[in-house]
Symmetry: D2
Subunit: 351 residues, 4 copies
């Protein structure tokens, strides 16, 4: 075997929920070596093992437990920066890293809709990375900034991408979202035991906008949004991980559930990204049992990187209705940012 | 005060979840006196207090605990029969009761769509009781049979009824349904802790059909279904009581959320039923907080008989989107059957 | 009927979990009329309906929603002050109220073990109110301060009180405590779904000390602690209300489960308090079914003021083992403070 | 490397909860190859993938999905039989297998207390396997039958074993047990959401007896029970996996928590079993954080085979109190039976 590439990576906002998943996923990453973990003032200077209230079932890696938490400031030696910062912190911090020459793969929402920032799922719109040329020109950054979409968006976009050849026109989507999406402490147990919260601040807006950019067409260093109308309603439910989304989709072509399932099950990532460490051969797993996908049983499909689709049926109002499940903290956040970082290295020709 | 009317009532299928709620609600009913509780072979002959695994927070009434469980056969002296039978049992048993002269208010789905059986919500379509004349003519029954809709249907139909003046054309609805809807033992805890079940057998079909009949127009002793297209997706979630439904509605007239909220909040039951014991002055309660309705906080609105609507917003795809909550075992089942029984007595001129 | 007494009451710390239960219980109290609700700086000046994130299933009373939240300072006209303050705030604030002439019934732990402050359950140790003479003498207060025990303590003390005639020597107790005991936001949902927390700060110490004072003997204006050894282990579980406690008790006299159940079931409050509005005729309800008490089914026994005991069995190590359940926010907090306020008025001869 | 041993294994009762865990654990077992899966009449003849309602987060192995379910009858070619049968079926079936020459490692309770059947935890009482000589002599079996203890027992026995040198005299234990312990469908969700069940049929008796045999002394082909008094109370709580047990222990020697933690943390399996595939180097993991162990965070310690102990404190009544956690379906059932099968092969000199 040839020697594996090795890149120094920092995780910004490493003590939060998504930061913890990043540390967990990076523990076994074949290319990346963590050199810095950053946190808020409350955590800086303490060992990560103390500063972080670890909530994953898998244990915290020893190397992470011993690392001191650094301030979220450029300075450490690293090529890659994975950002799990809260959006309001990201807005100010991420450009500083990009300007200082770091390659920043961000999970924050701050720059997702910026016209010169790729909103990327490598197995959906790898070509959108071309926006980075414009980004460098306009912003004068020596580094780069790219983002992954909102966790729930990932559940919708993969199956919609597979249906694009049939003309996606209008989409209704209703989500049942897991607790980890709200971080820690996030939702109070008093609010969610024997209960549902029919409101997640800012979430519906993201779901109605982000898919249009992700599924849009790259034209002359800009993304022309896909002409899809989306209507979203979002709910918080008492599951730990795994966002379930119920979709009704209107297509230009009236295809059958069988055709739709075939299109999804055979959807493959573009060649450029298919061999990346975080890529999965089957980005969409189609289940035919009537009662799947279920969050607890299906969220780890493809190591948490596959979206699982089921209950594909004719829709009496639109063309098709179905259910999609994404592991919100892997495909929807930590895994998404890692996958983007890998794709960026590929696009830059460094792997 | 004038003397209150008094009717002898039997509950068929009294040991199940809906049967328990009926016993609970009948405990304080001003008109009805329970004279018989029936159950399956396993229960017959035992005192109700032993035969029934009581699951309500409120204690079992003493009078019920002591009653012997009877077989589900005509024979006892009662004017009214409230049926909480499983559908397959109801199909055979309920006509026998109606033929034997009992007035049967059924919660079972067996006869809901039969053209001569009223599918009734008294504050929605009281006039549909006129179908009973045809029923008596055609079936030769001396009694009568009427039904209430599926529990989830009730959440959708009340707000849709209030919007009918604006021309309801197409409706998407996605439900998050409570465990009590599956009865006891119903859903295994192993299936629903940290999980969602995206499938409830037969439920989507009911939701796509029943509102058309309930909102239909009575013409010459038949109900002409309302020309509404509905698409439903149903999910089981780990709440105890209270079905939440996310709706997107296409109206002929493009009204604002304010107009819709006004139409719902001012919706009143028809005069004929407004003073019935189970009627509520406000069948639809509109909440303006962004995070309501919530099952645990709102299911008991109007004693469990009001549907609570919230999050009324413009829909980017249709006209409006909103969330509706119904107490599935009160407004959606036991309370519904009681309300129907009262309405039947009113229609017959007996109260 | 004779006219009912009427007392003006203030609730300190009214926006928290216990404060909400106080508002709920005071809504129907026959003697008390709420004239002031206080809160922290964040809430002061706003209407209670806005300042408070209401979490009870029953709706907030209208009168409360409209009241402005006041600072926690003496000044309003009220005879009685019910305190649901956090302990660290109570430590400083409550003496100021007592010094200013208010009668303070506190739920906070700050002064529970002070030798001149009654730690009171009126149906257990009404006579301990005599400590108030010493309190007035020593502190020079024109008002008074009395406290109720920790919520979990109430589950243990009532059955132990009924067993005192048989010589309670040693007690093991392990609790399974509800979420509402931690207040709001309290426990994060991420910590408790599919999980148990085997630690509640400060709780075990309280359980090992408070019963000794409550069951102690009043001698010459001091309480001589009961010579009982207690060992406690406390756990947080995902129930909303209702603390379950498993006890093993060593008695001097080797009585049978039947004798113990008889002693508990026939335990009655002392005459002086039996007719108070919050008193229940059966402070201990004994269940003989093998699987009771259960929090959801039994917490509302006696309106939430009865402790429910079950599974009384011989203990292979000590004399008896059994399970006890208390509604932690009623008998264990809000109801306890109200009951104490009523008992204080009785002791003062004002009712 | 030397070639690995290979044994043909059958799983009896493979469709249940413990059977599923066995299939999962056997999927990666270095020595064992599954040749038969048996089930009840309802399942016989169908492929395992259809007959079994799989409930684990990890997917069902393909080889298992395709195997036909066989009746629970001797006949297939296998050296080893792992039994996950219900106790009442095991009582009749297991002796038939042992008589037919199979080596049977059973998880069922039917023969645990039989004087000639080893009740085995290999890292606790490996020497008890000597009972098998007596078993063969008395029963004339060419095979053998050995059993593992009740799931909850495993949580208690490992720490007690480590404390045996200090003279364990009396033990109080209260369990908080996970849902998977009741199998599928097991506990109804309606019974356990917002609730606790303080009763598990037969469980307390097992906890009070089994540790005495496990910790007993082998004398002349019999086990003399350890002279320990135990008192148990057991509760079902809404966790998926992981039984938590609160213990108070009276020792002859008054040791400190530090000494106890040292004894537990340094407890090692006997040399004969330390290298078996399912053995763990640290059978007891000691945590010093105040809020551990927690089921969701700690149940997978040692791949689910380590018992995690925490909150070791002085006990005001006995010597020490602490909390222990076992993964009930791995260390407490499926992993236990596998470990026993391996130990049996070692004892027979076949590995």
């Amino acid at each position: 075997m040839s020697r594996q590439p090795s890149f120094r990576v920092a995780v910004l906002g490493a003590t939060g929920m998504v930061g913890q998943w990043l540390v967990h996923l990076l523990d076994r990453h074949p290319w990346f070596r963590v050199v810095a973990l950053t946190g808020s003032d409350r955590s800086v200077g303490r060992p990560y093992g103390e500063a972080c209230r670890w909530l994953l079932g898998a244990p915290m890696p020893d190397w992470a437990a011993r690392m001191p938490v650094l301030p979220t400031e450029p300075g450490f030696e690293a090529e890659l920066v994975i950002s799990a910062l809260p959006s309001e912190v990201a807005r100010e911090a991420e450009p500083r890293f990009a300007a200082a020459g770091y390659l920043v793969a961000s999970n924050a929402s701050a720059y997702r809709m910026a016209p010169d920032v790729p909103l990327l799922m490598p197995d959906v719109n790898f070509d959108h990375l071309a926006l980075l040329s414009r980004q460098r020109d306009e912003r004068g950054w020596t580094g780069a900034l790219l983002t992954n979409p909102n966790c729930t968006t990932t559940a919708a976009v993969l199956p919609l991408k597979a249906l694009m050849p049939y003309g996606v026109r209008r989409v209704h989507l209703v989500s049942l979202q897991a607790l980890s999406g709200a971080g820690y402490p996030g939702v109070s147990a008093m609010e969610i035991v024997d209960n549902i919260l029919p409101y997640i601040p800012g979430e519906e807006e993201k779901l109605e906008k982000e898919p249009r950019k992700l599924l849009g067409r790259l034209t002359d260093e800009a993304v022309e949004e896909a002409p899809i109308l989306l209507s979203a309603q979002t709910n918080r439910v008492p599951t730990l991980d795994g966002h379930l989304v119920c979709l009704s989709v209107e297509l230009e072509e009236r295809i059958s559930p069988e055709q739709a399932m075939a299109a999804m099950a055979t959807y493959r990532p573009p060649e450029e990204v298919a061999d990346l460490p975080t890529a999965v051969p089957m980005p969409i797993v189609v289940r035919r049992e009537p009662d799947r996908p279920q969050p607890r049983l299906d969220r780890m499909a493809g190591g948490g990187m596959s979206v699982v689709v089921g209950r594909v049926q004719p829709c009496p109002v639109f063309t098709l209705k179905f259910v999609a499940l994404t592991h919100n903290t892997i495909r929807g956040a930590a895994g998404a940012a890692l996958f983007n970082a890998e794709a960026l290295l590929r696009w830059l020709g460094r792997v």
